[in-house]
Structure formats: C-alpha cells, structure tokens
C-alpha cells in the first residue's frame, strides 16, 4: 500500500515538519481516496451479477479491503513498534498510537459487513467460520492494545509497553490464524463457504483493487490527521504540566 510519507521517514523525524507536511497531504490523500472509491464502487456495481450471490456479492468491495487494511494496519503498527524500540524514531510511537483505533475500525467494518453478507448467504448473522473468527480475534488484540495505551499516564512509557505487546501479537497472529482454521475445519468438515466467491473474475477484481487502494489512501489521511492530533495532545500535556508547576 503506497504511502509516500513513509519514503521520507528520516526527514519527517521533526514533529513540526511532519505537521506542515500533514496539513498539505491530508486533503490530497482524502481527495485521492474519494476519487478512487467513487470510481471503484461505480465499476463494481456495474459488473455482471454473480450467479450464486447476485447483488450481495457487491459487499465484497468494502468487506475485503477492510480485511486487508485491518491486517495491513497491524503490520504497519508492528513496523512502527520496531521503530520505537530499535531505531528510536521520534514519530514511531505517535504513528503506533494513531493507527490503533483506525485498524480496529477497519476490523470492525470487516466483521459487521461479513455478518451482514453472511445473513443471506448462510442464513445466520454469524458463523464461526475460520476467517471471520480470526478477524474477531484480531479485533480483540486491537482492543487490548488500545486498552494498554489508555492504562498509562505518560504516553512515552505506554509507547514502549505497547510496542512489545504489538510485536508479541504480530508473532502470535499467524499462530492464532492457523489454530482457528484448524478448529473451524474440525467442527465443520464440509467446505466452508468462501465469502469472496470461488474465483475472482477480473470484472470484480479490478473494482476490488481500486477500492482497496482508495481505502488505503483514506487510512493514510486519517492516520496523518490522528498523528497530528496526538502531537498536539502531547504539547498540551507538556504545557499543562509547566503551567501547574509555575503555579506552585
């Protein structure tokens, strides 16, 4: 997923420079996202109807990118965690903190759209199918990370703890995915109905990829905005502490 801000990582180490860059990039990314999503959805809704699922298959244009982003954002957080622990990049923990609720949001979107898609397909709103269940566990991991951020008074102390938790989670996610898949085949010997269809025709694949790209740019815009907020929040906190000290 292209995010041009990452290519200039060393130049962005200065928070002020980042803020200025963010102010320019956020509207650009948002505009790109809007254009891509509009085009992708237009293509997607005009693709020929699938024999088996008909119109409900169009849910995939939001469900599948959400799944990719939920996982992609976590990977980004893991890289940022390394940035905090190993390379000591000053903006790494800000990126981590900002990304967590966004990733959780995409996981939630994936789960809810998956459930809604499942209703006409399976008959129930929820099936403990391997992939949705793994996404549910990923959502729980996100919530744990957010909880840990909020448990500390000082954001920098939290950053290191959260970095470790994120990396431990990153190692564990394949293990969880593997065990959940094993568990779901154990209890459902019949082949699990794949939500995105047995094969992907290019008339569906192209809109899907365009939407995925659009959502990625949307994430990029939200991330930079949230990082900006976090930097402001820390400045406020520092000034508040100074003010309290001066009043003594």
């Amino acid at each position: 997923m292209p995010r041009t801000s990452r290519m200039k990582i060393s130049e962005l180490a200065n928070p002020n420079r980042f803020m200025r860059l963010a102010t320019r990039m956020i509207p650009l990314f948002a505009a790109l996202a809007a254009v891509l999503l509009a085009y992708g959805l237009y293509l997607g809704f005009n693709a020929p109807a699938e024999r088996d699922q008909g119109i409900t298959a169009r849910i995939m244009f939001v469900h599948v990118p959400a799944a990719w982003l939920a996982l992609g954002v976590y990977s980004m957080m893991a890289v940022a965690a390394l940035g905090t622990l190993v390379w000591r990049h000053p903006l790494a923990d800000v990126a981590q903190k900002a990304a967590a609720p966004l990733g959780a949001g995409f996981a939630l979107i994936c789960l809810v759209t998956g459930a809604i898609w499942g209703r006409p397909t399976w008959g129930t709103y929820w099936e403990w199918d391997g992939r949705l269940t793994s996404m549910l566990v990923l959502f729980l991991i996100y919530l744990g990370i957010i909880a840990l951020w909020r448990a500390f008074e000082e954001p920098l102390a939290a950053a290191k703890a959260v970095a470790i938790l994120t990396l431990v989670g990153f190692i564990n996610i394949p293990i969880v995915k593997f065990s959940v898949d094993w568990w779901s085949t154990l209890h459902q010997p019949a082949s699990v109905f794949r939500l995105d269809g047995p094969t992907m025709h290019s008339s569906y694949l192209n809109p899907l990829l365009i939407c995925a790209l659009g959502f990625s740019f949307l994430f990029g815009a939200m991330l930079m905005a949230a990082m900006r907020n976090e930097l402001l929040r820390r400045r406020v906190r520092t000034l508040t502490i100074f003010a309290a000290q001066e009043q003594r």
């Binding site: 622990l85 566990v137 990923l138 729980l140 991991i141 919530l143 744990g144 990370i145 909880a147 840990l148 448990a151 500390f152 920098l156 102390a157 290191k160 703890a161 470790i164 938790l165 990396l167 431990v168 989670g169 190692i171 564990n172 293990i175 969880v176 593997f178 065990s179 959940v180 094993w182 568990w183 154990l186």
Partner: protein
C-alpha cells in the same frame, strides 16, 4: 543458581501465605464450573459432552485473572527494582517467577480438575486426559501471561487489563487443549495433531514469555 532457587522459594512462600492467592484461584475455578450448569441446564448428557470445554475455560479464566500477582507485589514494595539489578539474567528471573506462579496457582487448578469434572459428569478416562492436557496447557497460559504481567507491572489493579491483553494469545492453547481432551478416547488422529501443537505452544511460551517479559521490565523501568 542459588539466586534463582531463592526467588522460587520466596515467591512460593509469599503465595502460600494468607492473601497470597493460592486458594482463591481454585475457588474461582470451582465457581465457574458450578455456574455453568445453572446457565446451561442440568442435562447430564450435555454437561458431560461440554464438560472438558467448561474445565478448560474455567482453568483459563482462573489463570488469567491471577496474573497480576506475578509482579504486582514486587512493583509495590520496590523488589522489582532490586530484581532488575540482580546478577542473574532478567530472562531467567522472569522464567523463575512464572514457574513459581504456575506452581502456586496453575498446578492447584490441575489438581482440582478431576473433582470438578465429576460435578460435570465427565467420564473418568476423559478426566485423566484432561488432567494431563491441562498440565501442559496451564503452564503455557502462565508463561504467556507472564508477558502481560510484565507489561503492566507498574500499573495498579491491572488484573483485568492483563487478562484482556493475553486472552487472544491463549486461544490456540484453548483450541488444541480442548480438542486433545475430547479426541483422546475416540479420534486418535485428531488427538495426535492437537497434542503435538499443544506441546509446541508450551515450548514456544517457555521461550517467548521470559524474553518478552524481560524486555518489558527493562523498558518499563529504564525510562
């Protein structure tokens, strides 16, 4: 080596003291097992069928909620800072503390399992398998939990927070543990796979637990 043994003895002694938490974990385990039939209904056949699952869930929850005891007392009275300065590698110290914690809280759960399993009407043969599988699974949970305990070492009343953080990582233990327990008698092939992965998870946790916990403790105090 003697330092490590000293830590082990100290932690065990502290746990066995009043307020040390040895009994309360087992009582909580009993509470969970007792509560399930009220929720599910006294259908003997159903309870016997889901019995192993209830035992595993109870053991998991009872283990998770006691995790803040690993470093909680030490953080409060300053012993944690001393441990960080000790000559032994922090990973070894963390390993020892997890071992002590499991001996004091996890092992009693395993010992209580046959009695609680009888309440649920689980067959004797399955019960013995359950005991064995829990003997492998509870230390895995304890050593994974060690990571959460270390991350939250400086935070007060972190019991629920640690449980929430660690639960996702214990799901594989739960999956393979229950599968091994229920499949041992009837389905040999499934048991084989599940047992292998359960053992693998234990070994994995024995390594990653202390390593991550030591890193967490160092970073927590270093800043």
């Amino acid at each position: 080596m003697s330092g490590v043994v000293a830590i082990l003895r100290r932690d065990l002694a502290l746990s066995l003291r009043a307020g040390g938490g040895v009994g309360i974990g087992v009582i909580f385990f009993l509470a969970i097992v007792m509560v399930m039939p009220f929720a599910v209904g006294p259908d003997q056949k159903l309870l016997a069928q889901i019995g192993p699952a209830i035992l595993w869930t109870g053991a998991l929850l009872a283990s998770l909620l006691g995790l803040d005891r690993i470093f909680g007392a030490d953080a409060e009275d300053g012993s944690l800072d001393l441990l960080l300065l000790a000559p032994q590698p922090l990973e070894v110290i963390a390993f020892t503390k997890a071992l002590a914690h499991w001996l004091a809280t996890g092992l009693p759960l395993v010992i209580a399992t046959p009695l609680l399993g009888l309440l649920l009407g689980v067959e004797i043969d399955t019960l013995w398998v359950a005991v064995l599988m829990l003997l492998i699974g509870t230390p895995a949970i304890a050593f994974l939990g060690l990571i959460g305990a270390a991350l939250a070492a400086s935070l007060p009343r972190a019991g629920l927070l640690i449980a929430v953080m660690i639960v996702p990582f214990t799901i594989p233990v739960l999956i393979f543990g229950t599968a091994a327990t229920t499949a041992a008698i009837a389905e040999g092939a499934v048991f084989g796979t599940a047992f292998k992965f359960l053992c693998a998870l234990l070994l994995f946790s024995l390594v990653i637990g202390p390593v991550a916990a030591a890193a967490a403790l160092r970073l927590g105090r270093g800043s």
